[in-house]
């Protein structure tokens, strides 16, 4: 502790915290500004930061010397702004009228695409960017050695903050931006051209990210996944500060910058957990962030900028029970003729389907976008892994305990999350997921930390049935998944499920009708969590080894992607999406390095062209075709059950 009072040490640490805060502020100020005006939480904002860093890298290859460096530092953000204009005008603009999840997913598709594009253009390796000699050295302040570049960053960031303040509070456009963030519709009715303003703000926000990247590039290094690393940190910053609030971003950056620096010194093992813990605590105390205020739930009409809202057609008929048995029969027979690899692949598909169908109880049925399902998946997987390795308990018993543990975890997390809605809900689930990840990742003694758990023993079922082989494991998983999916289907079509749908469509109206909306949402969250835990448990048994990677937020994105690919408004959609996802994944990974690019393009196409998902599309076509062939309809489908 004595070291804390050492002036030189303190100076170095304070400056390093400020430098971290400076980078965070440059990036998150743009993120929050864009959210304030466009109401889009831009996942790709970190990718724009990454582009800024790559652009300065490419530019400084040709532009040398101090003048060249300054030019590159200014040109890189302009290049990023240009990319942003293309993104906004070419892609985002098409889906402003859709629900916010589609906008979120479009930006997520961009993350995948930009990541792989950067890898293709610049290569997967780390790039470092040379600094001009004048700012490349170090100075001694109060006995501590500080890089000159740190001082440059620490001076430039407040200047940018000042410039932002000036633009927002002293120029007419800035005032319009502030007005629009609080009431977009009113600004529209006062004669302000929203389309032009949206493009401008999106480009400006991107420019800030690009500047952050250009400034950070020479201090850190750049590689294709810096974008995804930095965006989560920035989400934490803006959510803590209050989405859409610039001062919130400033305070959030200072808090996180300080916390990260202090965390590394005081509790190096738990550094990561701190920022998520802070976010969780802040959101529990102030659900809308330190400076935020509750978002009005935007009616579709309000989002609609004078365009016709496109209705995503829900499915209007349900498949007869007999027809529903066909996939099950196929699933029973096919593996007998498939090789061991395919048996394994099919098991993967089963598990992924369960995760996706459970997830869609939240998204498609209740209207809650959870970005933290990996926490429950991980809870289930680690329950099985730990019980199997630390006790002699049978595989079936440990598998049955997995959903129970996941349920408890979901009960606690859900209690806090359901108080929020929309993007805030998504962010809080993401933070909790990352918190669970950080705990498991660092808790070596109990969870094995980043080594995970290897050699999970698979013990015979009661009655001595062995499930050690790929084929028997497949049938075991099939039985478990079939039962689970049937339960989920019944829940969805029960009165309880109907209430959930009513909540999705209009939670205010449901509230007026006397429904305890929060209780229903919480219950759905817990049910989805339990079944996700079951999927996780099955995964542990199938793989016989697990690592904390399965709890990372990118794992939480998987059921979201599967559901969107398959279609959120049909029960089978997520399962179909899971098949597509797993099959593509296993083939493309073998076939191309750029699996993320392909996935990103598919997602982009789905969001832009088939917002109802593949199943929604097929249903739409089928309704038309079967209308002409009444006998097929009568044979295959029972009477229309709305959505």
């Amino acid at each position: 502790m004595a070291a804390f009072f050492d002036v030189s040490f303190l100076t170095v640490q304070v400056l390093s915290a400020l430098r971290q805060a400076a980078f965070l502020f440059l990036i998150s100020s743009g993120l929050t500004l864009v959210f304030g005006v466009l109401n889009i939480l831009n996942f790709a904002h970190g990718s724009l930061y990454m582009l800024g860093a790559y652009f300065i890298y490419a530019l400084t290859l040709h532009l040398t010397g101090p003048a060249g460096f300054v030019i590159a530092l200014l040109a890189a953000p302009l290049g990023v702004a240009l990319v942003a204009v293309v993104i906004e005008m070419g892609l985002l603009r098409r889906i402003y009228i859709q629900e916010e999840i589609y906008q979120l997913l479009l930006t997520y598709a961009l993350v995948l695409i930009i990541h792989d594009m950067a890898k293709i253009v610049f290569g997967p390796e780390f790039k470092s960017i040379p600094k001009p000699r004048a700012i490349g050295g170090a100075v001694t302040i109060f006995g501590g050695t500080v890089p000159v570049y740190t001082l440059v960053v620490v001076v430039l960031a407040p200047l940018v903050a000042l410039l932002l303040w000036y633009l927002l509070y002293r120029t007419r456009t800035g005032k319009i931006v502030r007005a629009t963030s609080s009431d977009r519709e009113m600004a529209d009715a006062l004669g302000i051209n929203m389309s032009a303003l949206f493009t401008l703000v999106f480009a400006f926000g991107a420019m800030l990210a690009g500047f952050g990247g250009a400034l950070a590039g020479p201090a850190r290094t750049v590689f294709p996944s810096v974008g995804t690393e930095v965006i989560i940190e920035c989400f934490v910053v803006v959510v803590i500060g209050g989405l859409g609030n610039l001062w919130g971003a400033l305070v959030g950056s200072l808090l996180i910058g300080t916390l990260e620096t202090v965390g590394i010194i005081v509790f190096p093992e738990f550094e990561m957990s701190f920022i998520y813990l802070l976010m969780v605590v802040v959101l529990i105390l102030r659900p809308w962030g330190l400076f935020g205020r509750p978002l009005k739930v935007k009616a579709l009409a309000e989002k609609n900028l004078g365009m016709e809202a496109q209705e995503i057609s829900p499915v209007h008929f349900s498949v007869r029970p007999l027809v529903r048995m066909i996939p099950l029969v196929l699933l029973l027979i096919v593996p007998l003729f498939a090789g061991r690899y395919y048996q394994y692949l099919l098991t993967q598909i089963l598990i992924a389907s369960l995760m996706a169908v459970a997830f869609n109880l939240l998204l498609g049925t209740t209207g809650l976008l959870s970005f933290g399902q990996a926490a429950f998946y991980g809870a289930g997987a680690y329950t099985v892994g730990l019980l199997a390795t630390k006790t002699g308990i049978g595989s079936l018993s440990s598998l049955l305990l997995a959903p129970l543990v996941a349920m408890v975890v979901a009960g606690i997390i859900g209690f806090f999350c359901i108080r929020l809605s929309g993007v805030h809900f998504a962010m809080l689930t993401l933070a909790f997921g990352q918190l669970v990840f950080a705990i498991i990742y660092k808790w070596y003694n109990f969870t094995g930390g980043d080594n995970g758990i290897q050699g999970i023993p698979v013990r015979p079922l009661p009655g001595g049935i062995d499930i050690g082989s790929n084929l028997s494991m497949y049938y075991f998983a099939l039985a478990a998944v079939a039962v689970a999916v049937e339960i989920l289907r019944r829940i969805r079509s029960s009165p309880f499920g109907a209430t959930l749908k009513a909540i999705r469509e209009n939670n205010q109206r449901a509230e007026y009708l006397g429904v305890n909306v929060k209780l229903y949402q919480w219950t759905a969250f817990v049910i989805a969590g339990a079944f996700t835990g079951l999927a996780g448990g099955l995964y542990a048994l199938m793989e016989k080894s697990i690592s904390p990677d399965i709890i990372l937020w990118t794992k939480s994105a998987e059921p979201v992607l599967m559901t969107i690919i398959g279609g959120i408004y049909s029960f089978a959609g997520p399962a179909v999406g899971a098949v597509v996802f797993i099959v593509l994944n296993s083939y493309l990974v073998a076939w191309t390095e750029n699996w993320a690019l392909v996935l990103g393009l598919i997602l982009l196409a789905m969001v832009l062209m088939l917002p109802g998902g593949a199943v929604g599309f097929v249903n739409e076509k089928a309704r038309g075709a079967f209308g002409k062939m009444g006998w097929v309809r009568r044979w295959a489908f029972s009477k229309s059950g709305a959505s």
Binding site: K175, R178, G306
Partner: protein, 235 residues
């Protein structure tokens, strides 16, 4: 030719049909009342005119030109100013900034509204110039939203329930201001539930109920028609 005409306008929120063949006309220089109970469709009529909830069918004409189908900001620039219900001034902007964002520079109006002219009409706003929108009283917020819309130099104002929730004294003040605004040459369409308030300021009135127009005529006739008042207005 009427300044504003609605011709068989049908408007929906999602799947619910709200306005049924609404037709009405406002002549230049008039103050016309649109009366109706809670949920009758007054605000929806306004939102259809200004383009925030575009009609599904029918036509809205302003100065003889069709405006439905245009985006809200374009309709505003054509000269229709919309003052919404529940006083939506920008809470984080000062009174002056609220006015400044609405200034339209490209328009070459002969005698444009300026912050000073608006302050002359609403002296109270000048006193509170530096306060944030969220710090104003209900009456002040109502004045600010009207003043802000005037800054766009509208030829016609759509005023949605301006008297709602205001103290009687403030309501009387508001009536004077509407008459003043009319004197400045602005045509007004006024949505109200308060019949007495309309009687003070308007010449003609329409009564709307369940999304369709049930009555139209001079205010004098309307005031005398007990049946209509009883049936469609909570009098």
């Amino acid at each position: 030719m009427a300044l504003l005409t609605l011709d068989s306008v049908n408007t929906y929120y999602g799947r619910s049909h709200i306005l049924f063949d609404v037709s009405l006309a406002v002549e230049k220089g008039e103050v016309v009342a649109l009366l109706g109970r809670n949920g009758a469709g007054k605000s929806t009529t306004f939102r259809s005119i200004i383009g925030l909830t575009p009609p599904m069918s029918g036509e809205v004409r302003f100065k003889g030109e069709k405006v439905n189908g245009l985006r809200a900001f374009r309709i505003c620039r054509r000269g229709i100013g919309f003052v919404p219900e529940d006083r939506r001034c920008f809470p984080d902007l000062t009174v002056r900034e609220n006015l400044e964002v609405a200034v339209r520079r490209e328009k070459n109006t002969v005698d444009p509204w300026t912050v000073e002219r608006v302050y002359a009409l609403f002296p109270r706003l000048q006193e509170r110039e530096k306060n944030l929108g969220s710090q104003l009283s209900g009456g002040e917020q109502q004045m600010l939203t009207i003043a802000r819309t005037l800054m766009t130099n509208p030829e016609m104002l759509l005023l949605d329930e301006p008297s709602e929730g205001l103290a009687p004294l403030v309501v009387a003040l508001l009536a004077d201001m509407i008459l003043q605004i009319r004197k400045e040459g602005v045509t007004v369409l006024l949505a109200e539930q308060n019949l007495n308030f309309c009687a003070k300021v308007s010449d003609r009135g329409y009564v709307i109920d369940k999304g369709s127009v049930k009555y139209e005529g001079t205010m004098k006739n309307l005031l005398a028609d007990d049946e209509v008042k009883e049936k469609y207005l909570a009098v």
